[in-house]
C-alpha cells in the first residue's frame, strides 16, 4: 500500500469537508476555464478576421513600404523570391497585391479609401473574398469593374452599375485616374473591413498606378498558424534582407497589444478567484493537520520517516486540487464544446460595442489545450504552495508532544 493509496483514503475520512473544498476548486476551475475559453475564442476569431479576411499570415514588401505605404515602394517580385517561396515548406499559396490610398467619387460625394489590386482567382483562395459579395458579382480575370465595401458604397450613395471615379497618385508622381463601374458590394462580418476599401483586378490596378509587373505585397497562406515565425526566418535565410517579411502580428501590433491587455485583465480576475480558493484549501489542510497531529506523531514513532509522511500529506493536498480540477473540467468542457460550435450572439447594444472594436457581435469560445492546461498548472502551483504548510508542520513536529495531543 503506497503513500498515494493512504493519501487517497485519508482524503475521504471527512467526506463532507473534502467535497466542499473540491467543489470550491471545481467552481473556480469552471469559471476560469469558461473565461479563458471565451477570451481565447474571441482572440482567435479576431486574428482569423484579420488573417483570413485581409492580411494573410505573412506579407512580403519592399523594405520601405510599411513605413511609407507609398506606391513608389512597389517592387517586381524576382525569380529569387518566387523560388524561395516555392521551396519553403508550409507555404500553401502566395498571391500578389497592389495597394494604395485612393479617392473614390460618385456624383458630388468623395471618399478616401484603400484601393487593392488583386488576382481575383488566387485572392479568393486565400481570403475567400467572393463569399462576401452581398450584391452584384465577384471580379473575374481582366475585369474592368470594382468591388466596394458596403459602408463606403453607402457613404458614396452608390449602387451596382454606378461608375466610380478614382483619383490617386501613380508610380513616381504619375497621375492615376480612372472610371470603374461597380460590379459588386462587399459585406464583411467585420465592421473594420466594411469601411476599408475597394478591390479591382491586378492588371487594372497596375495600369491605374502605372506599375507594370510590380506589386506592393505578396500575401502568404501557410499551413500552420503557429509556425509563422519559423516560416518567416526560412524565407529570410533564402532572400536575405532584400525584402521586408512581416507576420500578421507585426502588421497589426495594436491587435496584439489589445489581446495582451485583455488577457492581463483576465489574469487578474482569475488570480483573485484562485487566491480565494487557495485559502479555502489551506483552511482544510490546517484543520486536517490539527486533527491528525497525534496520528502523525504515531506514524513517526512507529518508524515512518518524516519525508515519507510529508510526501503522503503532499499527495493529499495535491489530490484535493486534482479532484476539484477534474470536477471543474467535467462541468466546463461539455458546455464549452457546445459554445465552440454555437457562438452566443450578443444583444444589440453589446453587439454594437463589439462592432466598434472591429469584432463580430458574438461570444466565441475556444478549446485549445492551453485553456485546460493553464487551469491545471494554476491549481498545481497553488496546491504546491499550500503543501509547504504540512511539510513545515512535520519538520517541526515533536513526537512526544504529538502523542500527548
Amino acid at each position: 500500500m503506497k503513500n498515494l493509496t493512504i493519501a487517497w483514503r485519508n482524503l475521504w475520512r471527512n467526506k463532507r469537508r473534502t467535497l466542499i473544498t473540491a467543489a470550491a476548486v471545481a467552481l473556480a476551475v469552471f469559471f476560469s476555464t469558461l473565461m479563458s475559453s471565451m477570451q481565447e475564442g474571441t482572440y482567435s476569431k479576431m486574428i482569423d478576421n484579420i488573417v483570413k479576411f485581409y492580411s494573410g499570415y505573412l506579407q512580403i514588401h519592399h523594405n520601405d513600404y510599411w513605413e511609407t505605404r507609398s506606391i513608389d515602394d512597389s517592387y517586381v517580385p524576382g525569380q529569387d523570391l518566387k523560388d524561395a517561396l516555392n521551396s519553403t515548406d508550409e507555404i500553401e499559396l502566395y498571391v500578389p497585391r497592389i495597394e494604395s490610398f485612393t479617392l473614390l467619387s460618385t456624383g458630388n460625394v468623395t471618399k478616401g479609401a484603400a484601393l487593392i489590386g488583386i488576382d481575383p482567382e488566387e485572392e479568393n483562395k486565400i481570403t475567400n473574398l467572393s463569399q462576401w459579395v452581398s450584391t452584384g458579382e465577384y471580379l473575374s480575370k481582366g475585369d474592368k469593374g470594382i468591388l466596394v465595401a458596403v459602408n463606403i458604397a453607402k457613404q458614396l450613395k452608390a449602387e451596382i452599375g454606378d461608375t466610380l471615379v478614382l483619383i490617386s497618385q501613380g508610380y513616381h508622381g504619375a497621375s492615376a485616374a480612372g472610371l470603374f463601374p461597380i460590379k459588386g458590394i462587399l459585406k464583411f462580418p467585420s465592421p473594420d473591413l466594411n469601411n476599408f476599401g475597394a478591390y479591382i483586378d491586378l492588371d487594372a490596378a497596375r495600369d491605374f498606378f502605372s506599375v507594370p509587373d510590380m506589386v506592393t505585397s505578396m500575401v502568404l497562406l501557410v499551413s500552420d498558424y503557429d509556425h509563422v515565425q519559423k516560416i518567416k526566418h526560412a524565407i529570410q535565410e533564402k532572400v536575405g534582407d532584400k525584402y521586408s517579411i512581416m507576420t500578421w502580428d507585426e502588421m497589426q501590433p495594436e491587435i496584439v497589444q489589445m489581446i495582451e491587455g485583455d488577457r492581463a485583465g483576465g489574469v487578474v480576475m482569475k488570480a483573485i478567484l484562485y487566491i480565494v480558493i487557495g485559502f479555502g484549501i489551506l483552511g482544510t489542510i490546517i484543520m486536517m493537520m490539527s486533527e491528525r497531529k497525534r496520528e502523525n506523531g504515531i506514524m513517526i514513532a512507529i518508524g515512518m520517516q518524516k519525508y515519507r509522511l510529508q510526501t503522503m500529506l503532499f499527495y493529499e493536498t495535491l489530490l484535493i486540487g486534482l479532484v476539484g480540477v477534474i470536477a471543474g473540467f467535467v462541468l466546463s468542457i461539455p458546455i464549452i464544446s457546445i459554445f465552440v460550435n454555437n457562438p452566443i450572439p450578443l444583444p444589440a447594444e453589446i453587439g454594437e460595442a463589439y462592432e466598434m472594436f472591429g469584432l463580430e457581435p458574438a461570444m466565441y469560445f475556444s478549446l485549445v489545450p492551453k485553456v485546460v492546461l493553464n487551469q491545471l498548472i494554476t491549481v498545481f502551483v497553488i496546491t504546491l504552495c499550500i503543501a509547504v504548510y504540512p511539510v513545515i508542520q512535520i519538520i517541526n513536529l515533536k513526537v512526544s508532544n504529538a502523542l500527548r495531543a
Binding site: 500500500m1 520517516q305 513526537v399 512526544s400 502523542l403
Partner: protein, 228 residues
C-alpha cells in the same frame, strides 16, 4: 542477554515556571525476553521514562544504550530508523491508522522496513492468528471493539520483529475480560517470540502478570522486584 542499559537518566521539563524533574537519575537494565511492568502513581514519570526509552523524547542527562547503540547520539532520521527496526509500541488509545484495514495496519511497519510482499503476508497472517483476529483481517479499526483494536496494535508492534515492546498503559481503556485476554496473548508472544515487553501501568491485573515490577515515584526508581 542485556538489551537495554539505562545510566543516570534524567529528564527535566523547563517549559513551565517550575522546573520539573520528571526522571531523576534512573539506572536500569533489561534482559531479552523480560515481561516487566513500570508502576507508579500518575505524574510519577512512567510515561516519560517510556518515551525516553523509545527515543521519542531527548533525555536531559544520562545515557540509554540499546543493543550497543547509544540512542541519545542518533540523529533524527537515524533514530526513526532505529525505532523501526528495534522497538515496538503499544499505546493506551490503540492508535491504529483508521484508513487502513487490520491487515494493512499490521503490515504497514514491514512495508516501511522494505520487506517483500510474501514475507509481509506470512508474518501478518501469523500474528493475526496469534491475536485471534484472522477473521477480521479486512476490517477497518472503526469496526472493531477496543480490545480487538488493542490486539491489532500488539500484532502491529510485533510485526517488525523488534527487540522490545513498550506498552504505555495498554489496558487502561479495556474491561477485565478483554484485559485478561490481551495479557494472555502478550504473555504467549513474549514466550514464543522471546520479545521483551515493558509496560507502564497502574493496572493491578497487569502488575499481577508481570515477572518484574519496577516502581517509580517522583522520577526515581524506588523498587525493582523480580518474580519467578
Amino acid at each position: 542477554m542485556k538489551i537495554i542499559d539505562i545510566k543516570n537518566l534524567e529528564k527535566i521539563y523547563n517549559d513551565s515556571e517550575v522546573k520539573v524533574h520528571a526522571v531523576n537519575g534512573v539506572n536500569l537494565s533489561f534482559e531479552k525476553g523480560e515481561f516487566a511492568a513500570i508502576v507508579g502513581p500518575s505524574g510519577s514519570g512512567k510515561t516519560t521514562l517510556l518515551n525516553l526509552l523509545g527515543g521519542l523524547d531527548k533525555p536531559s542527562g544520562g545515557e540509554i544504550i540499546i543493543d550497543n547503540t547509544s540512542v541519545g547520539t542518533l540523529k533524527s532520521s537515524r533514530l526513526i530508523d532505529f525505532r523501526l527496526h528495534n522497538i515496538g509500541f503499544v499505546f493506551q488509545a490503540y492508535n491504529l491508522i483508521p484508513v487502513l484495514t487490520v491487515k494493512e495496519n499490521v503490515e504497514f511497519i514491514m512495508l516501511l522496513q522494505g520487506k517483500s510482499k510474501k514475507e509481509r503476508d506470512a508474518r501478518t497472517k501469523e500474528l493475526l492468528e496469534a491475536v485471534g483476529l484472522i477473521d477480521r483481517i479486512d476490517s477497518r479499526p472503526a469496526k472493531l471493539s477496543g480490545g480487538q483494536q488493542q490486539r491489532v496494535a500488539v500484532a502491529r508492534a510485533l510485526a517488525s520483529k523488534p527487540k522490545f515492546i513498550l506498552a504505555d498503559e495498554p489496558t487502561a481503556n479495556l474491561d477485565s475480560k478483554t484485559t485478561e485476554n490481551l495479557l494472555e496473548i502478550m504473555e504467549k508472544l513474549n514466550r514464543e517470540e522471546q520479545v521483551t515487553f515493558i509496560f507502564s501501568t497502574h493496572d493491578a491485573r497487569v502488575v499481577k502478570k508481570a515477572k518484574r515490577v519496577i516502581t517509580i515515584e517522583d522520577g526515581k526508581i524506588i523498587s525493582d522486584e523480580r518474580r519467578n
